[in-house]
Each structure stands twice: as C-alpha cells, then as structure tokens.
Symmetry: C2
Subunit: 437 residues, 2 copies
C-alpha cells in the first residue's frame, strides 16, 4: 500500500513506542487520509474522495419528521439499544435487501456503525494473525486497512472486465493451502467494485460461488452501491444465490453516511458471534441513527429518492466518461462503470500515478494512486477517479486538467527518456484484459 | 466471569466452528445480556440494568432544535466526517472536561462510538494476547468483555472503601513483571466505580498515580459518572493531575446514550494511533450524533440538566439505601455511593448470589450477580444493584422483595445446613474492609 509510514523521527519521539500491540505495526496513515488535506482546497477538483452527494435530500421535510420522531419516540430513540440492532431496523433492512433478490430473516442481521464496522467485526471473529483473506486485485483500501489491523495476509485474485476470475480463485486457494496457509474468506465487491467500477455478471457470480463452495471458502460480499445501478436493474446479489454468503450492506450511499448505519447478514451461527463481538466493541450500534433511518424509510419515498440519486450519478458518470474520451492522451485506458462511484484509469506504459500526483495537484485536480488498492505494491500505473461528489461541469474540467498533467508527464518522459523498467509490476493490472474502457 | 458458555450442542451444530479466530474463545454471552430477557418483564423490578433515566429531557424543545439542525446543517451533519471526530465536538468536549479540572487540547481528543468503543480502541492499540491489564477488584463487566476479546489477561487489584490500594497495585506490578508478564495498563473507574459505587478521594488518586508513574504503568481512567456527583462537587479527575493519563468520557449519562458518543483524551502520540485504529474500525464515528450533541450543548442549559439528573438520581439512591436499611437481613452489608448508578451488596456468609437469583426473580426482583465483575471467579457473595432507572417507589419495593429472597435463602440454609466451605473465595471481596455500608 502507498501508506505514509510514520517518519523515523516521529517514532523516536513517541515515549510509548515499546508499549503498542504488534498489530499497530500495520497502522499507518492511509494515502486517502493524507490526500484529503490537498483535495479539500476549493480550487482543486477532487476526483479522490468517495463522499456521496446528498444535497438532493428533502431537508425541510426531514427536519419536520425528526421533530416528530423526538417528540413521539425520543425517550427510546436516545436510550441504549440492542447489541444486535433494533428489530424494527433489521426488519426494514430485510425489505431493502429484497430489492436485490435476497430472502432473509431479520434475526440473521447485525447492525453496525457503517459497513466499515461490519468489515471490522467479520475480520475480528475469523482472522488470527497470518490467516489469508482473498480479495480482488485491486480492492477497497478501507477494507484492506481493517484486514491489516488484524494482521491478516491479503492475497489478491486476478480480475478481468467481468470481475473475479474463477480459475484464478481456485489456483490461489489450492496454492495457499499447499503452502500451509489458512484461507479464511474471499472478500468481494461484485457491483461496481471499488476502485475499478467493474461488475460481475450473474453467470460469473455463479461460477465464483461454485468454486468457493467446492473449496469450502467463505464468501464475504460487500455491496454498498448495488442499488445505484444506472442502466437496467441491479444484478441479483451473490447472497440471493447462496445463504452461506456473508453479506454487507449500508445506508451510506442510498440515504446518507452521517448516521453510520450498515449491516451484516450472516448464517445464524456466525451472526451469534458477531453480536457478541459487537457488544464488546460498542455495546449497541448507534440507536438514534436507527430510529432516524427507519423513520425515513417509513415516511419518505426512499425508492424514489434512490431513482433521483441514480439519474444524478448518471449525469456525473457521463461527464467523466465524456471528459476522459475528450482529454486522455493516447495509450490511456479506463473502465466504464454502470453504477457506483468510480472509474479506474490505466496510464500509458512508463507512467507512475504516484509520481504524477504532484503535477496533477499543481494542475488543480486530485485522484487516488492505484497502489493504495493493492496490498502488494502493484497498481503504480493506475489511478481511481471518483465521480460521486463534484458537479458534472467540475468533473469534466477535472478530466481536462488531468489530461494535461498526463500529457506533460509523457512529454517529459519522451524528452528525458526515463527508464520504464521500474514499472514492470504494472503488467499485472486487470490481468489478461487491461483495456476495458 | 459468570458467562453462559455456548452449550456443547450449539457448538457441534456450528459448521464454522473450525474457522473462527482464537480470540472468539472468550466471546461468550454475557451474564448481563442473558439477564435482560428476565429483567424486562414488567412485573419484575429490575435492579440489574445500567440504563440512565432520560425521561426528564426537554423533548419538545429538542425536537424543534433537531428540525433547525437538519434544515441549516443537514448536508454536513448527514455526510461522512473526520476519523478523529469533528473539531467543534472535540472543542465542546474540552469544555465539558474542564468541569472536572482537566486542561486539554481538542487535538488530543478522539471521538468514539460510546465510551465502550474507546475501551475497544485503547485495548486494540496496546494489547497483544497474554498482556496484562490491571483492574479494580471488582471492575466493569463491559470493559472486561473487551479486554477478553483481545485476549488480555485481567489481573484484579484489591480495593478498600477509598478505592484501589496503592500497595496492592505496586505488589501486583512487581510480581507480574517478575513472572515475565507485560503489564500494559491500569484500568480504573475512580468515581462511583461500576459495580461498587466506591469513589477514590483526591489523596488516594495522587497515591495511585505516584505508584503508576514510579513503575511506568499507563493509567486508563474511565469516568462516565463523575458529573453525577450527588453531594458536593466532583473530585478532580486523575487526568487533571497527570497529562499522561488516558481518559475516557461519555455523554451517555450526562445527556443520552442513544447517540453513542464517547471520547478518549490521550497523549499526542497515542492519540495518533487511536485515530488510525478508529478509521479502520468505523471510518468516522457517528457524525449526525456529534452535530446533535454539539447542538444540544450550544442551545440548552446542559449544566442545569445535569443538576436535574443529580437530584433525580439522589432520590433514587436514597430510596435504595432506605430500602436496604429497612429490609436487608442481619449480616448483609452494602456500599453508600455519592453518585453514579450502583450499590454493591455483600451477602451473609454462606450465600451465593448466583444461586439466589432464581429465587429473587421468583420474588419479582433482578440484579447482577457479583461474579460478572471479576475475571477470576470471585464475587459469589456479592451483587450489583442499580438505582438509575426504576422510580424510587419501585426501587424501595425491589429492596423489600430482595430482602425476602435473602431471608428465605438464609432460612433454607439454617434448616438444611448447607456447606459454606465452597464459598471460601468470597473472603476476598473488598479486601480488608468488607463492611463499608
């Protein structure tokens, strides 16, 4: 990962340095966080963040309905709650999951403080130091931060333009087991993968599940963006085809992230452990937030709101794809997502997205370098661009600035003939089909 | 701990049993949770829970102010936030801590999902499996659940009626280190300790801190109840005397627990690690909750509300102490807290609080058996009674029912002459001064 290691000087000044747990060795400031300081400057078009645009929410009506909520249910909503999460919230979540063909029992749902905490709890109950978690190559930087915090070994599985390669999954599991490793689960984002935007078609999901079942590997399906499908309907969730799949969901993208309400749907025995782990972690997940979200789902047209979000993100995605077509130098390729927040760019051979970043920021555009999404140093030729937050005009302008930065970098390389040998790692990106734009 | 182990049958039925992390070995259903099912029956007076009574909050005005909050700041309040917590919230927290003589910088505060999560993060960054955490004998069941989840070894330090014994602390550290153990920190609740209600006077705090400093042991001060002091003013926090103390605070008792907002104040280097751990755990602590609480602190007389809570809890505490004086059989002793939520009862010799529980529930009163608050099997002659939630009349009636249950149990022992030898453990309770009522 492209983490910024605490500097040697800082480390020497920390009087507690000998006291920390071994797991803190992997706790470094994430590239994403370090970027925020830069990307937040108003003159910079940030294509780096993953913040949803929630400006379209009906604030006046929401305010009035919160007033009602406090006056009628305030004493319960502001009290401690269940460690597993409130039953009414779990029932609503079962309704939401039905939109992606999932049949579930509210008793098998555990509410979490955002789906980030769902990752934390699943990792906590399954991972001993050194255990292997399989993940797409590339995968979500925040999930890998959690996996590292529990000293997991992250092993990437190759993708093509349809997502995870079933044969690569099989080979990885067989090879890792032969090496004596405990492969605990596959972590996958089948819809609009973060960072690539790639989606697994239905048939590919079946194939991946078949391999996982055959080899006895648990599947953890992370699905924050599924309902934000732009064209057509969401593809059935993997969990809808296999009740053994552990499924992570969230209201952060379909409603609002500030309430920090996500969930895990898990087989009953696993759910039991997750609840106990949750009680030790936070006693109860945010209670008022659960009342607030259930209140929203009960009294507002949440499906209509999602449709509004979909068109809004469609316009932003189109602005980004149009901008990339117009401004990217030859040799640059990118993915064309049908939903979610992200486009994955592969730079012309010889370029390095981390080395390019200062030049890009100088042109007033920011992104996340691809290495952040690999646990093993790959991704130097890639970058993640997000189209979720800025306006379409700003996004288009951002791609123009980015195109200029890349062109300038290419020109410098042509002039000074920089050695491209050091970028040999990048031949792995997206494996057999690098050009998926 | 008096945990209910998952039954052998359940364990055999769990198809994932070989997959779980080692740390789940300590994850058992807590006695507190198992009790909720019983205690929630309306005919039972529950002296078991630790829920604050928040019925006195000004709901109508709160509702209107939430409406305003959403309309004016909704887009920020419902968005992702900072991993460390919002600056405005950390500034308000510094103001709240000043009430207990603490001088701090908002930059050294990390917001957590309730102070339970503060415990989780502190344990996460300091504890490797087998490391020792020192805690009062007895100590908070929820903290021990967290410590167990990280495979810490909990070592209890004796108390008297003024809290932790400095000499016992010194002896424990020396002996544990001589045995090759890594003693990572002392966890202490100096105000109205949960479960005993005992408070360390100022001089005792100084003595404990002196020993900790001399031996280089970190102190983690957990202070959820300090501002709920009944007579007189809160005693200065340990953190106010030593900036190296890691301090845990919470709005759960001074405002409302449903927002799940607590915090850690820590030395700068430690704060840095906590923030990184927090990002891996939940990305950002509940954002809307922080806006809601800051809004409350800005627009309501929160000091006046705490004064209201103090008189309300005083009436409840008095009802409990009056009831115990009136109804407890000879040989029963109890603590007299000056705040917080709990009274700690020591039963006449020969009685066992777990064995007594079914009889008590039959009399329609519930409590938490003392063994829940020890990591090492002690506490069988004790029970924790809470006076925070039921009305004074119900509390008084609860002590009457409890007195009858104890008297009946004593009579049965007198009749059948049960062997008291099996209760030898209990001679440790509260060490040299068992009768502190």
């Amino acid at each position: 990962m492209s983490s910024l290691e605490p500097s040697r000087r800082d480390t020497r000044l920390d009087p507690y340095i000998d006291q920390y747990a071994d797991r803190t060795g992997s706790m470094t400031v994430s590239a994403v966080r370090a970027l925020f300081a830069v990307a937040n400057r108003p003159e910079v078009v940030s294509l780096a963040g993953g913040m949803p645009n929630i400006a379209d929410l009906p604030l006046a009506d929401l305010g009035a309905s919160f007033d009602q909520l406090i006056q009628t249910k305030g004493v319960q909503a502001m009290q401690y709650g269940s460690g597993q999460g409130e039953l009414f919230m779990r029932e609503k979540i079962v309704e939401v999951m039905a939109e992606e063909a999932i049949t579930a029992n509210p008793d098998d749902v555990v509410i979490t403080c955002g789906s980030q905490q769902a990752l934390d709890l699943v990792t906590r109950i399954f991972i001993d130091p050194g255990d292997v978690i399989l993940a797409e190559a590339p995968s979500y930087v925040g999930a890998m931060g959690t996996f590292n915090a529990y000293q997991a070994q992250i092993h990437h599985v190759e993708m093509d333009e349809d997502g995870l390669l079933p044969d690569a999954l099989r080979q990885a599991v067989v090879a890792l087991r032969a090496a004596g490793k405990a492969v605990k689960f596959l972590y996958t984002i089948p819809n609009f993968n973060n960072p690539t935007g790639i989606t697994q078609p239905l048939e590919r999901r079946r194939e991946v599940l078949a391999v996982a079942r055959e080899l006895g590997v648990l599947v953890v399906e992370d699905n924050p963006y599924g309902l934000l499908t732009i064209e057509g309907e969401p593809i059935d969730a993997m969990r809808s085809m296999d009740p053994e799949v552990i499924y992570l969901g969230s209201f952060s993208k379909t409603f609002a992230p500030g309430f920090r309400v996500g969930w895990v749907l898990a087989p009953h025995a696993v759910r039991e452990r997750l609840t106990i782990a949750q009680e030790a972690a936070v006693l109860s997940p945010p209670v008022f937030s659960q009342f607030a979200i259930a209140n929203y789902l009960d009294n507002f047209d949440w499906r209509g709101q999602i449709a509004t979000f979909r068109s809004m993100y469609q316009a932003r995605r189109d602005a980004m794809l149009d901008g990339l077509s117009a401004h990217m130098p030859t040799g640059t390729t990118w993915t064309s997502p049908n939903g979610g927040f992200f486009v994955w760019v592969t730079l012309p051979e010889g370029l390095d997205s981390q080395a390019l970043l200062p030049r890009a920021v100088n042109e007033r555009v920011a992104y996340v370098p691809g290495t952040a999404f690999y646990a093993d140093g790959f991704g130097s030729r890639n970058m993640r661009l997000s189209y979720c937050f800025p306006t379409p005009e700003r996004i288009y302008e951002g791609t123009r600035r980015l195109g200029k930065a890349i062109a300038d970098e290419l020109e410098m390389h042509a002039t000074f003939g920089l050695d491209t040998g050091e970028h040999r790692h990048t031949d792995r990106n997206l494996g057999p089909a690098p050009d998926v734009s």
